[in-house]
C-alpha cells in the first residue's frame, strides 16, 4: 500500500474554496442581519442577497460519525457548506430560504440543540480535562455537560440581559479565554507539590525549574541535584510541574475548582475586563459537580434579576459594586478574595465611600 507524496509548509487550504457562492459574491458587502429565533439568523447584503444561518450546540469532542451527519445535512440543505464558530458551535449555512424549515425540522428530529444567538448562553469554551491532558485537575467536558444540562434553556429559548460567556479550564494554564469570561470555572490545586528527589536531577533542567516559579518559592539544592520549595511562598500554580514532571502538584483529595466572574472581551460600552474570583473552592464531585452547577445557576439568576438590559455580568457588578454582588448572591467573602499576587495594589479599595 503506497502513500501519496507528502508536501511541506503548504499551510492551510485557502478558505475561498469553502465559501458558499452567495458569500463569495457578497464578501465584504453585508448590510445587516436579523436574529430570527434563538438559533437562526439571516444576513442581508447590499445586493439584497440573503444567507440563513442555523447554529447548533456541540460538545466540541466530536466523533467522525457526528461530523459526517452534519456533512450529510449540509449536502441536503446547504449545498454542502458548513462552518464552526469561535465558540465551537456548528453553523449550517442555508442559501435558499425554502431549505431553512426542513433543515431545522431534521435537526430537531435528531435531537440536536439549536440556539446560542443573541442575549443567551452560547457553547461553553473548555479545555481537554481528564479526557486528554496530563495537567488537568478536574474534567472539563464533564463539568460543561453538567452545567449545560441545567442551563440549556438559556441556549435554546430563554434570554438574559446580555450574552453570558461561560468557560471551563481544567488547570490554571487556561487553554481558552477563561480569564475574560462572564462566568468561568477554573481548576486549582491547594497543596504544595511533592518532589520526587531521585528523578528531578535526571529529568529536569534545574535553572528552568527554579525560573518557572512566579513567587520565587523554588531554590536549587545542588548537593542532591534537586530543588527545594519554600512552602510559605508556594501558590500551587503547578508551573514547576509543567517544566519538571517529578514535582507532582496533583492531590486528588484536595484539588478542585474555583468560580470567577465578570470578565468580558468586547470593547462595547466598557473596556475588556478580567474575570475576578467569586468562589475560591469546590471539591471535585464527578460526574455532575452539583454544588458548582448550583453556584453558577445562582449567579445567573441574580444577574438576570438585577442587571439592566445590555449589561454584561461584569458591567452589572461594577455598577452595583462588589459589596452588593456578594450580598445579592449570598456568596461568602474570604481571605482568598483579597489579592496578594502580582497586581494586588490595583485591587484594594482606596476610597472611604462604599456600601454595606
Amino acid at each position: 500500500m503506497s502513500l501519496p507524496e507528502r508536501q511541506t509548509d503548504v499551510g492551510p487550504p485557502n478558505y475561498e474554496q469553502f465559501l458558499p457562492p452567495v458569500i463569495k459574491k457578497n464578501y465584504g458587502k453585508w448590510k445587516y442581519h436579523e436574529v430570527l429565533t434563538p438559533g437562526t439568523m439571516v444576513h442581508v447584503a447590499e445586493s439584497g442577497d440573503e444567507i440563513y444561518t442555523v447554529r447548533v450546540a456541540s460538545p466540541r469532542i466530536l466523533s467522525t460519525e457526528t461530523i459526517r451527519d452534519f456533512c450529510d445535512m449540509a449536502e441536503k440543505y446547504c449545498g454542502g457548506y458548513l462552518r464552526f464558530t469561535t465558540r465551537n458551535n456548528v453553523e449550517l449555512l442555508v442559501s435558499e430560504k425554502a431549505q431553512l424549515d426542513p433543515l431545522v425540522a431534521e435537526l430537531k428530529e435528531k435531537k440536536y440543540m439549536i440556539g446560542g444567538i443573541g442575549p443567551r448562553i452560547s457553547n461553553v469554551i473548555h479545555t481537554q480535562g481528564w479526557v486528554h491532558c496530563h495537567s488537568a485537575c478536574t474534567d472539563a467536558s464533564g463539568l460543561v455537560k453538567a452545567m449545560m444540562d441545567e442551563l440549556h434553556e438559556y441556549f435554546t429559548t430563554k434570554s438574559l440581559p446580555n450574552k453570558v460567556r461561560l468557560a471551563v479550564a481544567c488547570c490554571v494554564n487556561m487553554c481558552g479565554a477563561v480569564h475574560v469570561s462572564d462566568i468561568a470555572v477554573v481548576a486549582v490545586h491547594r497543596k504544595v507539590p511533592v518532589i520526587d528527589n531521585d528523578n528531578v536531577g535526571k529529568l529536569c533542567e534545574i535553572p528552568t525549574t527554579v525560573g518557572s516559579c512566579p513567587t520565587s518559592a523554588i531554590r536549587p539544592n545542588p548537593k542532591d541535584k534537586t530543588v527545594v520549595i519554600n512552602e510559605e511562598k508556594c501558590m500551587y500554580c503547578g508551573n514547576c510541574f509543567t517544566v519538571c514532571p517529578p514535582i507532582d502538584i496533583h492531590n486528588p483529595e484536595e484539588d478542585g475548582v474555583a468560580i470567577v466572574v465578570g470578565g468580558k472581551i468586547g470593547s462595547l460600552r466598557t473596556s475588556p475586563k478580567f474575570s475576578k474570583l467569586a468562589i475560591p473552592f469546590f471539591y471535585n464531585e464527578p460526574p455532575r459537580w452539583p454544588k458548582v452547577v448550583d453556584a453558577i445557576k445562582n449567579i445567573i439568576d441574580v444577574y438576570a434579576a438585577n442587571a439592566k438590559k445590555h449589561e454584561r455580568v461584569g458591567e452589572w457588578i461594577e455598577r452595583v459594586g462588589w459589596e452588593d454582588f456578594f450580598k445579592l448572591t449570598g456568596i461568602e467573602f474570604t481571605f482568598q478574595h483579597i489579592d496578594d499576587f502580582t497586581f494586588m495594589r490595583d485591587t484594594l479599595r482606596t476610597s472611604a465611600a462604599f456600601k454595606y
Binding site: G11, Y15, Y32, L62, E65, C71, L82, H179, F274, P287
Partner: protein, 397 residues
C-alpha cells in the same frame, strides 16, 4: 459490547445537552482501532472515580522536518489501557473562519478513521482542527495523506501558533478589515516559524474584524489585530425610527449606555458627536440597520495578552492605534509583525511571553525598535510617580 463498566460516564449520557461520552462511544463504530475509544472510556471512567488524570507529560514525537503540530500523549497506565498507550494529538491548521465543504470534511474523517481514534475537537482552543489519539507509527502516513491533499500541520511548542480569526467580511456587516485574508496571509507568511519551534515561547496572532472581538484576540494573542475605523458613523434616521417604533428605548438602551456620552436623541433624530466617539461598537451592534461605521477602515494593533502562567494574566495593550489594511497596509502589517517578533525573540528569556517582556523592559524599547511614536492612545493614564528614564536621544533638540 462495552469493554468496561462506566457508570459515571454513562450518567453523562443523560440530559439534553450533547454528550461527549456518546461521542467517544460512537468513535468505536468507525475507527480501524476501536480499542482506542474503548480504553479511553475506561481510563476516563477511572479518572472520574479517583479524581485524577492518567496522562503522562507529552513526549517528543512528530513528522520528519517538523518540530510542531503533533503533541505526544501517553497513558500512564499502558498495561491497564493498552489501546491508549499512545494517544497523540495531530493538529491540522484550520482554514480561516472555520469554513468547510462537506466533501473536504468527509475526506478528513475517512483518513482519520483509518489512522486514528475517530475522535476530534472541532476545534482546539487556539483554532486548529484537532485529531485526538493516534500512534507514533501512524504519524507519517497521516501526514502524507493530509499534506498531499493540502492540509498542513498547525503550531505547537515554542513556535508561532496557528493564527485564527473571526468570520469577518464573509458574513458580518461589522468587519472593517478582511480578518480571514489577514489570518491566511500571516499563516502562510510564517510557515517556517509555525512548523519549526525556534522562539523563546509560544507566539499567538489573532484577528477580529471589529471591537466585538469574536475570536477573543484581545485576551489571548501576543499580537491582537482588531478592526476599527475613522470618520463619522453613518446614520439612517428612517431605520432609527423603525427601531423606536419596534419598541427599542433608544434613550436608555443606546444613548445612556454610550461609553463617551457622545449621542443625543430627541425622540425623532439620533445625533452623534463623532469626535467624541471611541468606536466601541455598542450602538452599531444594537442598531445594525440604522448605524454603519465610518468609511476609512483599518485596524488597531495591540500586544501582550496571555493566560495567568507565569506572572498573571494580561489583556493586550494598544501599540499602534490605527493602521490601514488595504494591499499596501498588508505589507506594513506584515513588516510590523516581523519587527515585533524580532524584538521579542532577541530579548526574551526562555518561556517569557511578549507581554511579560514588555513589563520587564518597558514599552519604550519596543516602540523604538519598531519605529512607532508614543501616543496618548497607548495608555489609560500617564505614569504617576516621578521616576523615569532619560535616553541620550532625549537631550538633543
Amino acid at each position: 459490547m462495552d469493554k468496561y463498566k462506566t457508570p459515571m460516564l454513562d450518567e453523562l449520557e443523560k440530559g439534553p445537552w450533547p454528550s461527549f461520552v456518546t461521542e467517544i462511544k460512537k468513535a468505536r463504530n468507525t475507527s480501524s482501532m476501536p480499542e482506542m475509544a474503548d480504553d479511553e472510556l475506561g481510563q476516563v471512567e477511572k479518572s472520574f472515580q479517583t479524581k485524577r488524570g492518567y496522562w503522562k507529560h507529552g513526549g517528543i514525537v512528530g513528522v520528519l522536518g517538523y518540530g510542531s503540530g503533533v503533541i505526544g500523549r501517553y497513558s500512564s497506565l499502558p498495561d491497564e489501557f493498552p489501546g491508549i498507550a499512545h494517544f497523540h494529538t495531530y493538529r491540522i491548521n484550520q482554514p480561516s473562519g472555520f469554513f468547510y465543504t462537506s466533501k473536504a470534511l468527509k475526506e478528513i474523517c475517512d483518513i482519520w478513521d483509518k489512522y486514528g481514534s475517530s475522535l476530534t475537537n472541532m476545534h482546539g482552543s487556539t483554532g486548529d482542527l484537532i485529531l485526538l489519539g493516534t500512534t507514533t507509527e501512524n504519524l507519517e502516513p497521516l501526514f502524507a495523506e493530509y499534506s498531499s491533499r493540502g492540509w498542513d500541520l498547525g503550531g505547537s511548542g515554542s513556535a508561532m501558533r496557528t493564527p485564527s480569526c473571526c468570520i469577518g467580511m464573509a458574513r458580518c456587516e461589522w468587519a472593517t478589515i478582511d480578518s480571514m485574508a489577514i489570518c491566511n496571509h500571516m499563516t502562510q507568511h510564517f510557515q517556517d516559524e509555525l512548523h519549526r519551534p525556534a522562539f523563546p515561547y509560544k507566539f499567538k496572532i489573532k484577528v477580529s474584524g471589529c471591537a466585538c472581538d469574536c475570536v477573543a484576540a484581545i485576551a489571548r494573542a501576543d499580537l491582537s489585530i482588531i478592526g476599527t475605523w475613522k470618520g463619522n458613523i453613518r446614520i439612517d434616521q428612517a431605520e432609527v425610527k423603525n427601531y423606536a417604533d419596534g419598541g427599542m428605548d433608544i434613550q436608555s438602551e443606546i444613548v445612556d449606555m454610550c461609553d463617551t456620552s457622545c449621542m443625543t436623541y430627541d425622540g425623532g433624530e439620533l445625533k452623534i458627536n463623532d469626535e467624541q466617539c471611541s468606536r466601541c461598537m455598542h450602538c452599531i451592534s444594537k442598531m445594525t440597520k440604522a448605524l454603519r461605521q465610518g468609511e476609512e477602515k483599518g485596524a488597531t494593533i495591540l500586544v501582550g495578552s496571555k493566560a495567568p502562567i507565569v506572572v498573571g494574566s494580561l489583556i493586550s495593550w494598544v501599540l499602534v492605534p490605527f493602521i490601514k489594511c488595504d494591499d499596501e497596509g498588508f505589507e506594513k502589517l506584515t513588516e510590523l509583525t516581523e519587527n515585533i517578533i524580532e524584538w521579542w525573540d532577541d530579548n526574551a528569556k526562555p518561556r517569557e511571553r511578549l507581554g511579560e517582556l514588555i513589563e520587564v523592559k518597558g514599552m519604550r524599547p519596543l516602540l523604538e525598535a519598531i519605529g512607532v511614536d508614543p501616543q496618548p492612545q497607548q495608555v489609560k493614564e500617564p505614569r504617576k510617580d516621578p521616576f523615569f528614564f532619560w535616553a541620550e536621544s532625549d537631550f538633543k533638540k
